[in-house]
């Protein structure tokens, strides 16, 4: 995962996240849209019909003075925390199933 | 080059003068044998 900021203002960010595909980008976009202070979030897997650019580009627009990079960081931590919880739940569910069998 | 005669099944060495013909039985059909080297193939 290589990050490259393309455009950055106080409330807008365009950033290239090299090496990722829909698998992670869609989860990230979903999380951003559920983050307070994020007005818009989207990603493009094939920007400019891919005139050489093939890495996904994430666009974030924020409001209420939230820095878009902070929003991104918050979303990433949010995903991680959620998945940590999910991991434990799934592990417990499999253990329960194994104990019953 | 090593070949095998398709009639008498003997190994045949061909040189550039003898033409394509088995020196033991005169048969003109010779089969090329698979080289004995280990062949590396990549799977993709």
């Amino acid at each position: 995962m290589e990050l490259r900021v393309i455009d950055k203002t106080d409330e807008e960010l365009r950033i290239e996240i090299a090496g990722e595909d829909h698998t992670f980008m869609n989860v990230l976009k979903g999380q951003l849209l559920n983050t307070d202070g994020v007005a818009a979030a989207t990603y493009d897997m094939n920007p400019e019909q891919s005139g050489g650019q093939t890495e996904p580009i994430l666009s974030v627009k924020t409001e209420d003075g939230l820095d878009p990079l902070d929003a991104l960081g918050e979303a990433a931590t949010g995903i991680s925390d959620n998945l940590a919880d999910l991991y434990d739940r799934i592990e417990a569910a499999f253990d329960d199933a194994a104990a019953e069998a | 080059m090593s070949y095998k005669c398709s009639r008498c099944k003997r190994d045949v060495e061909l040189d550039e003068y003898g033409g394509v013909r088995c020196p033991y039985c005169g048969h003109r059909v010779l089969l090329k044998e698979r080289a004995p080297d280990v062949k590396e193939v990549s799977v993709n």
């Binding site: 869609n26 989860v27 990230l28 976009k29 995903i79 959620n82 998945l83 | -």
Partner: protein, 249 residues
Amino acid sequence: MADDFDVEVVTRDDRSARLLVRGLTPAVANGLRRTMLSEVPTFSIDTVRFVENSSVMFDEMVGLRLGLVPLTTPLDDYEVGESATLALDVEGPATAYSGDIETSDDLVQPADENVPIIELKEGQRLEFEADAVLDTGKEHAKHQGGVAVGYRHLQRVTVVGDADEFDEEEPNILRGVIETEDGELVHTEEFDADLTNRHPGKELEIEDVPSAFVFHIESDGSLSVDELTLRAVQSLRDRADELAEKVAV
């Protein structure tokens, strides 16, 4: 995704499981499915050195078949890109099976021993040494650990009353797992996927349960279903962590 998760194993056997997860967004459900298919690495034969192949198939064809043999994968012991060595020597008349393959590491073994590689006639022989490489399904489909991984919404079936007596009874086909009124989880296969078998002469209401997904996960044997699922969650989480770390700098 903020809601609490609730996970339940609906059915499970050796190589497959149905897993109900509540509190998931469609994005995460799909991310998980895609990760299980393309990001969890497994071993697969990648290079073959043929010492002898007098079978009726070309080396490349035998190689392709070998690549598709699932190999058990001890993920704790290997990193992506590392390899293990395998070998096979079978002389006809016999069929060379995946079970005839010898391995350098006991933990890397053909997941099934009855995958036919090729039938050898009298005088034919297949001997090779091969390298199996640990890589992901994104790199090549032969490295996919999950087969037929997918999900459906959980559906709630409620009896709302009796069907009109003179209505013609038509089949009411439904696939997937349903939740009954008393919270029981039933796969529709148990009543032949036809709701009129389970509730004859009743009027039913069927609705998708919000944010509840039933995953069907099947492994090719390289990893257990548990490990495949958990590794997928972990792999997705690792990427979120990496992003958080890089953004923080």
